[in-house]
């Protein structure tokens, strides 16, 4: 599994990387702009990310905008719905407005409110079929 972790806070970035590294190849980005570039390059090279963990509050480009860009890139490339990357928002923002923005305007797959624990994240990945339950 190819994983893109997008997080400006080094401690959270490290935590996500530690949780996910045993399960996939992790690429780390520190803001939305960097993430969109990495996502585009992966898509264009035919090796798209299976999973994107995306923080919302970040400098340069925030996670909501990055999410919209990611989905736009997929649509421009004609990626069918069943092959879209799984995008999990990993954020401290828990208001209904943020949730609606991410799911409805952005098209995220799941939404996790910090603090993120190993079990919380791995459970979601199992539910989404990205990890087996073993």
């Amino acid at each position: 599994m190819r994983v893109l972790i997008v997080e400006d806070d080094p401690i959270s970035r490290e935590l996500l990387s530690r949780i996910l590294s045993p399960h996939g190849d992790c690429t780390l980005c520190v803001d939305g702009r960097e993430a969109v570039t990495a996502f585009r390059e992966a898509l264009e090279s035919g090796r798209p990310f299976h999973l994107v963990c995306l923080d919302i509050m970040m400098p340069e480009m925030d996670g909501q905008e990055a999410l919209r860009e990611i989905r736009r890139l997929e649509r421009d490339q004609g990626v069918p719905r069943s092959e879209e990357s799984t995008v999990i928002m990993t954020t401290a923002l828990d208001t209904p407005r943020d949730v609606i923005e991410a799911y409805y305007r952005g098209g995220c797959t799941s939404y996790l409110v910090k603090p993120i624990s190993q079990s919380k994240l791995l459970n979601v990945l199992q539910e989404l079929g990205l990890l087996s339950a073993d």
Binding site: P96, V99, I100, Y104, G107, V113
Partner: protein, 130 residues
């Protein structure tokens, strides 16, 4: 039956934001009824039901989540072109939005799982996605 006090600190804003979304869904469904082949509209309404599913789960309206999830599954099949968007399907979606709105705005609204109309609609939508 009166609903228990909302346990979530975002209760009021949840209702406000969710109703705003329902208004958008109403407009999209109205258009989808006239343009059943429009994939952008279908994608939008799919996302809207997914959003209601997530909101319901996060903000203690599990019945809304359960209900919206069933619609989402059927609409995703349509998005994957495994079935067509028909007048009846859109009408069911519209009926569900009216139920959601009434659930959010009626102070004594009961859980949708105890509402006979909701059960009937759910049964119909399940028939589309056995």
């Amino acid at each position: 039956m009166a609903r228990p006090a909302h346990p979530d600190r975002h209760g009021d804003s949840f209702i406000h934001e969710a109703r705003e979304l329902l208004r958008e869904m109403h407009d999209i469904l109205h258009r989808l009824r006239r343009e059943p082949e429009n994939q952008d509209l279908l994608r939008q309404i799919c996302r809207a039901f997914r959003t209601i599913t997530a909101l319901g789960g996060m903000f203690h309206y599990e019945d809304l989540a359960h209900y919206a999830h069933a619609f989402r599954q059927v609409l995703e099949r349509a998005l994957d072109r495994e079935m067509a968007v028909t007048y009846e399907l859109v009408a069911l979606c519209q009926a569900s939005c009216r139920l959601f709105d009434s659930r959010l705005t009626t102070p004594d609204a009961s859980d949708l799982r105890r509402c006979a109309t909701a059960r009937d609609i759910l049964e119909e939508i399940h028939a589309w996605c056995p």
